[in-house]
């Protein structure tokens, strides 16, 4: 199962980097250097960003689900992605920041603010309804805040400009931008992975975890802060992408035999794979205008989300 996932991931990554082959061959025919340039300067940042962002969504989704003890917690449902988008919009259009790393910091700050608000409103071990409603309220508020910030932004092009980015876009990102997203996100994700065993023990309840010497409150704060940094940095460069962080951990727990902490590594692989697939779809659709990646993940993710809610409800009534 694990090997299958890794093989599929490599397949999608290679396809994402190399397809369409035609334009690479054309470039090679003109000048071999041009083909390399196309591959390294244009295709590689996009592939790295797609794989990295997908992995980050998988890891932070799995970590948030483990922490909230709820399979519906995720960067998008919790409002963290919307908060990150608001943070990046404020930083970019109001503070006039252009440095990718500063924008990533704004994204992380926005995500942190929304996650902190969510825990304050719903609590650490919230029931599903409270978690969803609080997350929904925060997402809506952050979304409205983003629209307002764009509408009133000093630059008249802000709204149009942001459309391409807000719902996820990987086109024309530079290596510097990819690095600004992926280096902080990678560090945060690695620190999250170190907490896998603690998050597995948390599955036995906060009291058992506490008796084993863990500090559930501190663990929760760490998961929130690290997820916020990881997701916020990626959102600031490639926009808010939904459902991958929700769905990847669900499949990952089939591989980790239900363990929520151990699910982080497979969730990273599955998240990377799903986002690569979604971005391949975006590139394959023969339209004049590119569609945002977030639209594709939402189209495929919504039915899965509904299935998840229905199976959860059945389990509760059973």
């Amino acid at each position: 199962m694990r090997l299958l996932v890794i093989a599929l991931l490599f397949g999608f990554a290679a396809a994402h980097l190399l397809l369409p082959l035609g334009s690479l061959q054309e470039a090679r025919a003109i000048d071999p250097g041009l083909a390399n340039l196309l591959l390294i300067e244009l295709r590689l940042p996009r592939t790295l960003l797609v794989l990295g962002y997908g992995a980050v969504l998988g890891i932070s989704g799995a970590a948030l689900q483990a922490m909230f003890a709820n399979p519906l917690a995720s960067p998008d449902i919790s409002g963290a992605s919307s908060g990150a988008a608001l943070g990046a919009v404020l930083g970019g259009y109001w503070l006039g920041l252009t440095q990718p790393l500063l924008l990533a910091a704004c994204g992380a700050a926005g995500a942190l603010a929304t996650l902190a608000l969510l825990v304050t409103l719903a609590g650490r071990r919230a029931d599903t309804a409270t978690l969803l409603l609080a997350g929904l309220a925060i997402s809506l508020a952050a979304g409205a805040g983003t629209s307002l910030a764009l509408a009133l932004a000093p630059s008249p092009f802000a709204f149009y400009d942001a459309y391409d980015w807000l719902m996820g876009n990987f086109a024309d990102r530079s290596l510097a931008q990819a690095a600004a997203a992926l280096i902080p996100a990678g560090v945060a994700a690695a620190l999250l992975l170190r907490r896998a065993h603690a998050l597995d023990l948390l599955a036995l309840g906060e009291d058992v975890a506490g008796s084993l010497g863990l500090k559930p409150r501190r663990l929760a704060l760490e998961v929130i802060a690290l997820s916020a940094v990881a997701v916020g940095a990626c959102v600031s460069v490639a926009g808010a992408i939904g459902f991958v962080g929700l769905v990847a951990p669900v499949f990952a727990r089939w591989i980790s035999r239900g363990h929520p902490g151990r699910a982080m590594v497979p969730a990273a692989l599955i998240g990377a794979m799903l986002l690569a697939l979604a971005d391949l779809v975006v590139r394959a659709v023969p339209l004049d205008r590119p569609i945002p990646v977030g639209v594709i993940t939402a189209l495929f993710g919504t039915p899965l989300f509904i299935w998840l809610v229905v199976t959860m409800r059945r389990r509760v009534t059973a």
């Binding site: 003890a69 599955a203 309840g205 506490g210 008796s211 010497g213 863990l214 239900g258």
Partner: protein, 241 residues
């Protein structure tokens, strides 16, 4: 030999600072009315909450013990039998072990008769079945002290007796066992009983003496009549000195 020494353990508003010594091999029951502080005392002793005071097990300060050592010192079974995730029963028990140990795992599965349930997701089991799985987890690392919050609730009569015999075996092997208990009919199986009410230990003696005392009846608001517990009436209370 004294195994557990607690000095001034307390939790604000729920447990007054309490001193307690428990020897290796003791089987201690914590009884008392609802909300009296049984669970709070167990939690404070297991150092779950930021409780005040200090707990030493075999002379080692529990708060200072590294994570790997904690498992060998103590384990805690909460009254809640909920597990949020569909983890196989076998894997839940394995979470109680420091390192994979198939031998010990099989031993625990057989001890709690879990062979047929071992590969089923724990959150799909009945409450009583989950109690057996979670107890196996608590026993797994053979800690010095077992803190068990209502281990006998949700169990059928066969398993109540099995559990008591498992706890007695643990005590005989030198572990100290502290059990919050509601079923007074099993109290005689314990070597020592603590009566806890209003956030403090009110009495600490052998079960027979405890149950025979006026104080016990007063606090529980019940009394033994012809070998059965009945509710104490208001006039009984008034007749007290």
């Amino acid at each position: 030999m004294t195994s557990l020494v607690a000095r001034g353990v307390g939790i604000t508003d729920r447990l007054k600072p309490t001193d307690l010594r428990v020897g290796a091999g003791e089987l201690v029951a914590l009884v008392g009315p609802n909300g009296g502080g049984k669970t709070s005392l167990l939690r404070a002793l297991a150092r779950i909450e930021t409780a005040s005071g200090q707990v030493e097990i075999d002379g080692e300060d529990v708060d200072q013990a590294p994570l790997a050592r904690r498992r060998q010192l103590l384990s805690f079974l909460p009254a809640s039998r909920d597990v949020a995730w569909p983890i196989a029963a076998r894997d839940v028990i394995a979470l109680g072990l420091d390192r994979p140990d198939q031998c010990r795992l099989d031993e625990l599965i057989s001890l709690l008769d879990l062979e047929e349930l071992a590969d089923r997701p724990v959150n799909r089991l009945s409450t009583g079945e989950r109690a057996r799985v979670l107890t196996a987890r608590a026993l797994a690392a053979r800690p010095e002290i077992l803190f068990l919050d209502e281990p006998l609730s949700n169990l059928d009569p066969y398993w109540v007796l099995q559990f008591l015999s498992i706890l007695e075996t643990a005590a005989e092997s030198g572990q100290a066992v502290l059990v919050a208990l509601h079923d007074l009919s099993q109290l005689h199986r314990f070597s020592r009983a603590l009566l806890i009410a209003d956030g403090q230990v009110q009495m600490d003696e052998a079960p027979a003496g405890l149950m025979a005392s006026e104080r016990f009846e007063q606090i529980f608001r019940i009394r033994a009549v012809n070998g059965a517990w009945t509710i104490r009436r208001a006039e009984d209370r008034r007749s007290l000195p």
